[in-house]
C-alpha cells in the first residue's frame, strides 16, 4: 500500500535573502537572515510566503501559478537560477541563499522585471506568425502533420522565466544578445510552415553577434532550463541553417520553393 511521504525533517532552515528597495532612498543592498522550521512538502513558495507573513511583511518576490507553468518565480537559489515554486527545500542544504536573477532590472528584493525584457525580445524577433494568407472564418483549418505540430509545441514550451538568460555569460555582458530564450523562439517560428519568413529573412537576426553566433558555447542555459528545453539542439539547428545559408549561395535561389512545399 502506497503512503505519501512526510519528510518532516525537523530541520531548522536558514534563509539569507538579498534585500534592496530601489524606490526607498534609505535602502541599500544587503542580505537579511531568516530562520524557519522545515515542514513536509515545503517548497520555496511555501517558505517565502511564511517569511513574509510571519517575519517581514515588506519582503518582495513574485509568484503566480505556484505550479511551474507561468514563469514568474525565477531566482538565484544558492547561486543557481531556478524556479522557486518547484524547488523543494528537502533538496537543499540547511542554509539557502536567495538572490534576484541578474540581467533583468531589479524591482525590489527578489523581484525583477522579466516582463519588459521578454516583451522587447518578442518585438525584436517579431514573435508572431507572419501569415501567408488572411484568416478565412468559413474555411476548414489548414492541415498539419501531427509530428510537426508536436515539434512546434516542444519549442513553444518555454515559459519565459528568464533562468536561461540569467545563466548566460553573454547575456550578462551584452544587453543586445537575444539570449537562449530568444533563439528558441526564433527556431520555433522557423520550423512553422504557417510562417512566411524565409531563412534569408531570418539571417540578419540570427547570424549576427546578437544572434546565434554571439553564443560562446558555455551552454549553461541547457542545464539550467527548468522546463528541460533542448537548447543545445536548438542552437545546433540554427547554426546548421545559417551555415548552410552562408556556404551555399544557391540556397538563396532555391528559397521560394520553401513557401510552396510547406503549403499543406
Amino acid at each position: 500500500m502506497i503512503e505519501p511521504r512526510h519528510e518532516a525533517s525537523g530541520r531548522k532552515l536558514r534563509f539569507e535573502i538579498f534585500r534592496y528597495n530601489p524606490v526607498d532612498p534609505s535602502s541599500h543592498p544587503h542580505m537579511d537572515t531568516f530562520e524557519l522550521g522545515e515542514t513536509p512538502y515545503m517548497t520555496l513558495f511555501i517558505a517565502l510566503h511564511r517569511i513574509r507573513e510571519e517575519q517581514d511583511p515588506s519582503l518582495q518576490f513574485d509568484f503566480s501559478c505556484r505550479s511551474a507553468v507561468c514563469g514568474s518565480c525565477g531566482l538565484l537559489i544558492n547561486g543557481r537560477p531556478g524556479l522557486a515554486c518547484h524547488t523543494r527545500t528537502a533538496d537543499l542544504p540547511d542554509t539557502i541563499r536567495l538572490h534576484p536573477l541578474p540581467v533583468f532590472k531589479l524591482i525590489g528584493d527578489l523581484s525583477v522585471d522579466t516582463g519588459s525584457w521578454f516583451r522587447q525580445m518578442a518585438q525584436r524577433v517579431e514573435s508572431w506568425i507572419h501569415e501567408k494568407v488572411p484568416f478565412d472564418p468559413k474555411a476548414q483549418e489548414a492541415r498539419m502533420d501531427d509530428d510537426l505540430a508536436r515539434a512546434i509545441y516542444e519549442g513553444e514550451r518555454c515559459i519565459e522565466c528568464g533562468c536561461c538568460v540569467a545563466s548566460c555569460g553573454v547575456a550578462n555582458v551584452r544587453p543586445q544578445f537575444v539570449g537562449p530564450a530568444g533563439m528558441n523562439r526564433i527556431a520555433r517560428f522557423m520550423m512553422d510552415p504557417r510562417d512566411e519568413r524565409t531563412d534569408s529573412e531570418w539571417f540578419d537576426v540570427v547570424s549576427s553577434d546578437e544572434g546565434v553566433f554571439g553564443c560562446v558555447g558555455l551552454m549553461a542555459c541547457h542545464d539550467i532550463c527548468p522546463k528541460g528545453l533542448p537548447l543545445l539542439e536548438v542552437y545546433a539547428y540554427l547554426r546548421r541553417k545559417m551555415l548552410a545559408k552562408v556556404m551555399t549561395p544557391l540556397a538563396r535561389e532555391a528559397e521560394p520553393s520553401k513557401r510552396q512545399s510547406s503549403k499543406m
Binding site: 505519501p4 515588506s58 511551474a68 507561468c70 514563469g71 524591482i107 472564418p137 483549418e141 492541415r143 505540430a149
Partner: protein, 655 residues
C-alpha cells in the same frame, strides 16, 4: 502631480479573455491600453492544460458532432441555469475561434492517420482514424460531453494559446502595462469612464480614462485560500471594483465549481484529461467507486457529480487519512510511461517535481478543490454590464452566462476566446459611437479618494489583526461552510463569520510601511473587496434553497424549477452593510429543463409553461438594469434545432 492618461479602450486583465478582446478593438483601429497584475503571459490562462471545446467532429469518436450537440451538452451541464441564447452564440462561434487560433500559430494536436490507441472507460481501444481527416484538429474526451470535442495542444493548451494570442497583441502594438492594478472604477451617473490604477513597481497612482472599459480579471478562487487550483493572483478584484460601484450586480456567485483532482497538499490541478484519458479514482481500499456510483459515465461524469461522489466516499470514512486531512487516489499507472510522459507530461512533471512521486508506479493523492467561478459581473449578451454604460466584462470575471450552475471542462478556455471576439467587437463598436466626454476633475477626484484610502492604511497605528489573518479566516469559513455540500445552518454561520471578518478589515493594521509597492499594503487594498466577494457568495448560497449544478444543498436536494429557474443578482449599495439580492429569469428557454443524463434525478417541475416563462424574460431583465443589446434578445436562437441532434445522438448511442 496627478497622472491622467486617456485611451479609447481600457482592458483590465491580460489573460485570454482580455487579450482576445483587445485584439478585436485594436484591429478596428482603436487605441487600446491593457492592464495586468503580471506580464500577460503569466496570467492564469497559461495554466489550463486540458483544452478547448469546439464541435469540429474531426475524429471517429467525435463523428456526428455539431454545434447543436455542443449546445445540448452545455445547457444540460449548466443544469438549465445558462442563458440559452448565449450558449447558442458560443457553440456557433467556437469552431471559428479555434481555427483562428490555428491561424495565430497554436500548435494544436492533429489527427494521426491509421490506428490510434485510446483509453476509453479504462479499456485500451484501437481506433483507425480515416485518411480524409488526417492533419485536422484532434479532439479528446472531457467530462460531461456526448462526443469527443475538446481541441488541445499536447499538455499545455492554455499556455500555447496565450502565447499565440499575446503574439498578436504585441504585433498590433497594444499598449500593455503590466504590474498595474486597477483599484477603482471611475464612474458618474451610471457611465463608466475608466479606472484608478496602482503601479506594482513603484506604488504610484494614476488614472486611465477611456470611452469603454473592460473587466477581464479572471476568477476569484483565492477566497478559498489554499483549497483552490487558481493562481495566487486570482483574488477577484475586477468583480470587487464592479461591486464597489453600488449599481453593477454580480450574478450567481453561489455557483462555484470544485475540481475532482486537486493535488494534495498544494491544490495544484491534475487535469481532467487524466480522467478523459482513462485514469481511475480509488478509495483507500483501492476500490474504483465511480463504477458503482455512475455505471454509465464512470469517472467521466460531469465535475460536480464526480466531486460529490468523492466527498461522499470521504465522508463514509473511505478516504486516506493524512496530517493534511483525507484524500483519495488517482490511478494513472495503467496508462503507461509512454502516455504519461508525452500526452500527460505536465501531470507527470507536477507529481515528480512537487510531491516527489512517479505516477508510472505510484498513486497520486487528490481531493476536490475550488476550481472555477461561474459567477461574476453580470452582463448582457454584448458583454455590457448591467446598470453602467461604457463598462463591459468578459471571461471568467463575467457572468455572460453560458455556464449557468456548472461549467463543462474545456468550455471556459473556449469562452475566453469566443467571448473575447464577440464582445470585443461590441466594445469596438461602442468606442466608435461614443466620445471621451469626461472632465479630468472627475479623474482627479477618484484618484484623491484612493490616495486617501492608502494614507488611511498607512496611518493606522492601533494594533489590529494582520491582513493575512483575516484572509485565512475567510478561507477557512469558505471551504468548511460554503464548499461542495451546503446546508442552511452552516451557511448562516458562514454569513455571520464572514460579516465579522469584513468588519475587522477596518481595524486591521499594517506592519510594513516601506515606500514603493509594499506587498502588505498591496494586499490590504484588496482585502475589503475580497471579504465582500466571500460574503456575497455565502449570502447567495444561503438564499438559494434548492440544489442546482455545483450548488448542492443537502437540506434542499432537489432542483426546483418552479421557484429557482433564475439567476441571482447581488448588489452592494454604497454605504450598505450587506449585499442586496434579487433575481431574474435565466433567459429564453428552448431546451426545456429535464434530466442531465447523469447525477441526481430529483427535481420539481416548472409551474409556468415555457412560453409563459419566455414572455417575461425581456422586461424582467430590463427591470434589473440590462442594457439594450445591438441585436434584439432572441435573435440568435435556433428554436427546436436540438430535437434532431438529440434524436441523432440517442440513435448513435443505441447502435
Amino acid at each position: 502631480m496627478q497622472a491622467v492618461f486617456t485611451t479609447d479602450v481600457l482592458v483590465i486583465g491580460g489573460g485570454l479573455a482580455g487579450e482576445r478582446c483587445a485584439i478585436e478593438a485594436a484591429t478596428d483601429g482603436h487605441d487600446v491600453v491593457l492592464l495586468s497584475l503580471v506580464p500577460p503571459r503569466r496570467s492564469h490562462s497559461c495554466a489550463a492544460q486540458g483544452g478547448m471545446q469546439a464541435a469540429l467532429a474531426n475524429c471517429v469518436k467525435g463523428a456526428g458532432d455539431n454545434p447543436t450537440v455542443h449546445f445540448l451538452d452545455t445547457v444540460k451541464g449548466s443544469d438549465w441555469g445558462a442563458d440559452q441564447e448565449v450558449v447558442r452564440i458560443f457553440v456557433d462561434q467556437a469552431p471559428i475561434a479555434v481555427r483562428e487560433l490555428a491561424h495565430f500559430g497554436v500548435p494544436w494536436t492533429r489527427v494521426r492517420p491509421g490506428k490510434n490507441s485510446y483509453f476509453i472507460k479504462g479499456e485500451r481501444v484501437d481506433i483507425s482514424e480515416p485518411a480524409e481527416k488526417v492533419g485536422l484538429l484532434m479532439h479528446r474526451d472531457f467530462g460531461g460531453t456526448a462526443k469527443w470535442r475538446t481541441c488541445y495542444a499536447a499538455a499545455g493548451t492554455g499556455h500555447a494559446v496565450l502565447y499565440a494570442v499575446d503574439g498578436e497583441v504585441v504585433r498590433l502594438g497594444v499598449s500593455v502595462r503590466d504590474r498595474m492594478e486597477a483599484i477603482a472604477l471611475i464612474h458618474e451617473d451610471r457611465r463608466c469612464w475608466g479606472a484608478v490604477v496602482r503601479c506594482l513597481r513603484t506604488g504610484k497612482l494614476s488614472t486611465f480614462l477611456a470611452k469603454a472599459t473592460v473587466i477581464a480579471t479572471g476568477g476569484y478562487g483565492r477566497i478559498y485560500g489554499q483549497y483552490t487550483t487558481n493562481a495566487t493572483i486570482n483574488e477577484g478584484m475586477g468583480a470587487a471594483i464592479a461591486l464597489d460601484t453600488g449599481v453593477v450586480p454580480l450574478a450567481n456567485m453561489e455557483a462555484v465549481q470544485f475540481h475532482p483532482t486537486g493535488l494534495m497538499p498544494s491544490g495544484i490541478l491534475v487535469t481532467e484529461g487524466c480522467r478523459g484519458d482513462g485514469g481511475h479514482l480509488l478509495d483507500k481500499h483501492l476500490h474504483r467507486f465511480m463504477v458503482d456510483l455512475e455505471p454509465e459515465k464512470q469517472e467521466l461524469a460531469s465535475r460536480d457529480v464526480v466531486c460529490r461522489h468523492m466527498m461522499e466516499v470521504i465522508r463514509d470514512g473511505r478516504g486516506v487519512e493524512t496530517p493534511y486531512g483525507p484524500h483519495l487516489w488517482l490511478d494513472l499507472r495503467h496508462l503507461g510511461e509512454q502516455h504519461l510522459t508525452t500526452k500527460l507530461r505536465e501531470v507527470y512533471e507536477i507529481c515528480t517535481e512537487f510531491l516527489g512521486i512517479n505516477p508510472v508506479h505510484d498513486l497520486v493523492p487528490v481531493r476536490p478543490t475550488q476550481h472555477y467561478s461561474m459567477g461574476g459581473v453580470r452582463v448582457n449578451k454584448d458583454g455590457q454590464a448591467y446598470g453602467m454604460t461604457g463598462l463591459f466584462a468578459v471571461g471568467e470575471a463575467s457572468c455572460w452566462d453560458m455556464h449557468g450552475f456548472n461549467r463543462l471542462g474545456g468550455n471556459s478556455l473556449a469562452e475566453t476566446i469566443v467571448a473575447g471576439r464577440v464582445i470585443g467587437r461590441r466594445v469596438a463598436q461602442f468606442a466608435r459611437a461614443n466620445e471621451l466626454d469626461v472632465s479630468t476633475a472627475l479623474a482627479v477626484r477618484y484618484q484623491r479618494q484612493q490616495q486617501k484610502r492608502i494614507a488611511g492604511w498607512l496611518a493606522r497605528t492601533r494594533s489590529g489583526p494582520s491582513v493575512y489573518a483575516i484572509r485565512d479566516a475567510i478561507a477557512e469559513t469558505m471551504i468548511r461552510k460554503v464548499g461542495i455540500f451546503r446546508t442552511g445552518s452552516e451557511l448562516e454561520q458562514a454569513v455571520e463569520e464572514l460579516s465579522k471578518q469584513l468588519r475587522l478589515v477596518d481595524q486591521a493594521t499594517l506592519r510594513a510601511k516601506s515606500p514603493g509597492m509594499n506587498p502588505e499594503l498591496t494586499f490590504a487594498l484588496r482585502l475589503r473587496g475580497f471579504a465582500r466577494l466571500a460574503l456575497v457568495t455565502a449570502v447567495s448560497a444561503l438564499a438559494r434553497t434548492e440544489s442546482r449544478g455545483a450548488h448542492a444543498r443537502t437540506d434542499y436536494p432537489a432542483r426546483d424549477d418552479a421557484h429557482w429557474l433564475s439567476r441571482t443578482l447581488a448588489r452592494w449599495p454604497q454605504d450598505a452593510k450587506e449585499p442586496v439580492l434579487s433575481y431574474e429569469p435565466v433567459g429564453l428557454i428552448d431546451l426545456p429543463p429535464g434530466h442531465r443524463g447523469y447525477g441526481k434525478v430529483e427535481s420539481v417541475d416548472m409551474t409556468d409553461s415555457v412560453e409563459e416563462y419566455n414572455a417575461c424574460v425581456e422586461t424582467a431583465w430590463r427591470r434589473q438594469g440590462a442594457l439594450e443589446p445591438v441585436e434584439p434578445i432572441g435573435a440568435s436562437m435556433q428554436w427546436g434545432s436540438w430535437r434532431a441532434a438529440e434524436a441523432e445522438t440517442e440513435q448513435r448511442r443505441r447502435a
